[in-house]
């Protein structure tokens, strides 16, 4: 690995919804090019943490710092849920292109169109590009969300259970793609998942949220038993 440049620092971060503490005094430094998995049981606060990192939620205590500056960090986010109903009209191609806001003319430039096509190809969506995204399957939607996040070439990518509805082959294909960009372009990735074997295969570090507190470390210390302690006892 190359020398470590921090791009994101969480300092004493705490989040409490009215009458309901989610996490507390969370300290974490994420360096450029790292691939993290974020694990923990349902409702423990993974999505809340991601939304705090994105400044969509204001933390109750502590700070989220982007280094060297917020502007330099382009974030791609593939959220767990999205408001796309079955009558949503845009095609997958147009949906992916929405994220291109750099050039100011209403229509996309030739270069931008090429970027969209390349992204569609990399995510295996070329054949489906003209299908309205409202009519796409759950997995196809996830691919389109990923393509949209990647088309603007982010340097921080946040995936919130984006592979949960994918079949095993597609899952591997998409994570291979993310891994490839992670390695070649130094893309930093935060991958929220419940799939520990998958996390072990692709990521380098983990952050585990539990109702008692957080734990972080190298990925080879992460085991199913560790995360699903409660269940492991019953087995």
């Amino acid at each position: 690995m190359t020398s470590k440049t921090p791009i994101l620092q969480l300092e004493h971060l705490g989040m409490t919804f009215p009458g309901h503490p989610v996490f507390n005094d969370l300290n974490l430094t994420i360096n450029r090019g790292e691939f993290w998995s974020i694990v923990g049981e349902n409702g423990v606060g993974k999505t809340t943490l991601m939304r705090t990192i994105l400044h969509q939620l204001r933390p109750t205590t502590g700070k989220v710092n982007y280094l060297p500056s917020v502007n330099a960090v382009q974030i791609g986010y593939v959220p767990q849920f999205r408001n796309i109903d079955s009558e949503y009209p845009l095609t997958i191609r147009d949906f992916v292109g929405l994220n291109l806001t750099g050039w100011k003319l209403p229509w996309l430039s030739r270069g931008e169109r090429q970027r969209v096509e390349a992204m569609l190809k990399q995510t295996g969506l070329t054949k489906l590009a003209n299908r309205p995204i409202g009519q796409a399957s759950g997995g196809e939607k996830q691919k389109a969300y990923l393509a949209q996040a990647l088309v603007e070439r982010p340097n921080l990518l946040i995936l919130d259970e984006s592979t949960a509805s994918l079949d095993p082959v597609t899952k591997t294909e998409l994570l291979d793609l993310v891994q490839q960009i992670n390695q070649t372009l130094d893309l930093t990735v935060l991958f929220v998942t419940h799939d520990i074997p998958l996390a072990r295969r692709y990521t380098q570090q983990f952050l585990m949220l539990t109702p008692q507190g957080t734990e972080q470390g190298a990925i080879d210390q992460l085991t199913d038993q560790k995360v699903w302690r409660g269940e492991a006892e019953h087995v």
Partner: protein, 267 residues
Amino acid sequence: MFSYEFMRNAFAAGTIIAVICGIMGVFVIARNMSFLTHTLSEIGFSGAAFGIFAGWTPLSGMLLFTVVSSVIVGQLSVRAERREAATSAISALFIGLGILFLSLANTNASYATNILFGSVIGISSSDVTQMLVLSILVLIVVLVIYRFLKFDSFDHTGALVKGLWTNTLSVTFLVLLALSVSVAAQIVGSLLIFILLTLPAATAKYFAHSVGRMMGLAILLALVGVWSGLALSYVTNYPVSFFIAAIEALFYFIALGWQHAQTAAKN
């Protein structure tokens, strides 16, 4: 029918309105703002009544009321569920005010029906110029913020992540909508403006799958409605809004039927 100046003016005005409504309508539908658009048109009615009462033109009163209220609604739009109820309350208040202003202004009933339901005969060439200027203003702003507005309207989640200034965009859009409502009210009347601002775009959504195509189709549908409405109204002497409403609603139901048949064929 084009030998009459008022008919030429009406067609020119109708064409401008159709173009503006087609473009703005696509965003109205994408942002789920049909209901708010309806309310803005009622506020427009109240503003027009106030304009008459204050001795201004109806258009000036309308512009004042819709623009101010759109900024207020924009600040108020914190929670979607609460917005519906708040919007209904505001709309009730403004209809009441509109009726009050009209009775205070002591104008006759036909003037009131003109504001509510529109009128073809009243349009002068200076009205057309005024509408053209306002419409061009709206179009320029839309053009400048187009990509941001498109992203925010069709994928609010994505736009938020991107850090787009979604609140500013939302207020800007509401002000543009207020301008469009005031422009369109000149011909279809304030109670029926929302037809042109919602139905053509809602119909287009079923047939076109890119923002550009949706706009093109919505403009076309609005143009067909307005032009044939004007012509039919000229021939029959029935109100133009009736024809426009009937034609646009017909298109919409055809689209729904088509969509239904498509889904049925798939299963």
